[in-house]
Amino acid sequence: MANIKYFGKLRTLCGKNEDRIAANNLTELLRAIQKLYGKEAKKAAKAALITVDGDKILSIRKTALSDDSKVSFYPV
């Protein structure tokens, strides 16, 4: 279960500031966000500055997540 933090528009779309979602990688996580909160939320998440354990992610496809990964979505 990755620990997720939402900021900006995503907070409104997801209706919460924090989350815990099971995902092996970022692609899975984005899919889960779409399933839980809709297409708009996934779109906003994709366009956000995504950090995993505090590091900027430039390639969504290649990023694996572990159980205690901390993922943040910030508005750019």
Binding site: A47, L58, Y74
Partner: protein, 637 residues
Amino acid sequence: MGHPKLRLPKYAIIDLTSGTAADYPISEELYKKYIGGKSLGSRLLFDLAPPRVDPLSADNVLIVNTSPMTGTGAASTSRFNLSFKNVLTGGIATSNCGGTFGIMLKAAGYDGIILKGKAERPSYIEIVDGAISLKNAEHLWGMNTEEVQEQFEPHWGKLVIGPAGENLVRYASAVSGERVAGRCGAGAVMGSKKIKAIIAFGTKKPYIYDKEKFDQYNKKYIRLLRDHPVTGEALPKYGSAYFLKNTNASHSLPTKNFKMGKYEDAEMITGEALADTSLTRNSGCVSCPIRCERRVMVYGKEVKGPEYETVGLLGANILNNDLDLISELNYLADIYGMDSISLGGTLAFAMELKEKNLADFGLNFGSKEGIIETIDAIAHGVGTGKELGQGTKVLAEKYGGDDFAIHAKGLELASYEPRTSVGMGLGYATSNRGGCHLNGGYLALVETVMLSVDAQTPKGKAELTVLFQNMIEAISVAGYCLFTAIAVLPGPLLKLGPAHPVSRFVNKILIGVRFILGSLWKFMPKLLPFNMLYLLPHSESLKLVTGMPITSGKFLQIGERCFNIERLFNLREGLTAEDDDLSARLTKTPQDLDRPDTIVPLDKMLPKYYKVRGWDENGVPKKKKLRQLGIDIDINI
């Protein structure tokens, strides 16, 4: 024959020694070339300050001036400038401020004032509807910047110093309202001249050549700023501290005196955290639609909150994760009249001196103990504060630690760790006023904060640095807040996010077109004989306000000329290419020991930079370049 409607700026020269003032005519030629603000200020300083003058002597000259846009009501144009010989570097100093003083100075009938000499006793200058007088300020001496401003009418423009300026703290600031001309020691120069305050009031309207078109254009410009994801959304919501999670995520947030670039407690001090916890509301400078200012509660009252630089340097850089304490330190720096960037840099250096057993100022990384007392001691020039008020460079000369003394030319670095933003490193090293991100071209914006251009490659960084340095100079000369430069980066691109394939492609392109960018300057101003709202919105505004035939090309050349006159001043004052340098920590020790490329490869970037600038291998502008820019100075280096 002059331009039929060209209105020349009105300047006064005030001799503080004799207590007299006279008009100082600005010729049409000078105005057309240097326009106003830091450019005209630097040229006047070059002409009026005696070579190699001591910055804190009566002979140093202080120019406080406005730009054509100041006070016109156009978006983000309340700015004014201070030019003087830099207390920390011995070179050029320009310092920009967003308080109401500039607007009121213009309303009082002057576009700029030049101060020379030294008052016999603590004094203040009053400028009301064209009349200038020097008045006794003995009763104001010792007051902080808040108290002294309360002594004057609320609607008057004020520029004041606090105890730090009086006590010649080398990084003392000058303050207008709650806005600060922070860098380079402007407050110390005012203090050395025994000037506690300059106040201005008047009813004159600023000159606008074509008011109707100007107003229409400004409306479009405001729309552009409001529609932009950064100037319209992120900055108003989170303030500039929203940069912090970006720099931290790129390992470019100065942490523990720039030893690291990532702070484990960064999440506790981001702009987002501030918005969630202590923010009461946002606010801003006069006529600014961006409103990036934070309001927070300190000592039971609402005051201006910390900006990104302050959060970085009084937070991560000293391992302080307490946002409330950062707000408190920021407030103290403002009321004592001290630059929070240099203060944060100096405190971090003192902490590392202690850690390495080189000196003990009673300060430790990650400990709150003694910080507030130390800041008070610095401002009042007592105890350990006397030495800490000299800044990092002087401390290193006395106690050692040169390899981790984080400054350029003597000015402490801003809050971007350059080993993971090497273009910013080149900018710091070549910035004319020392370790300044803005005068350095602010490549951190495209390397870490907004875009993600390869931050480790030296390729293309010379070309991009010159472009951004010249552009930022021009925007400042016109009188715009430099945050408006962010809107030059296309909003739709930023909205895609850094991981989007198009964003990644653009990042590559910016490096790929370096050969074109590098040769632009040979063809200026003819290369861009037009103005475009979405390319460089500021140039059309400047044209409409002055009546001069300004194009984007001419606008950028104004910036280039400004950068070169600043460089010439530095060379005349004895600074050389050897001073285009950074501490060994940044140029020789990799931030990540497993990645040897995490250093600032200055040796690879500087020769190219000089070439793009049209300077020789010693960093001296070539005659051909000076001729192209119309700079009639031969300083025979």
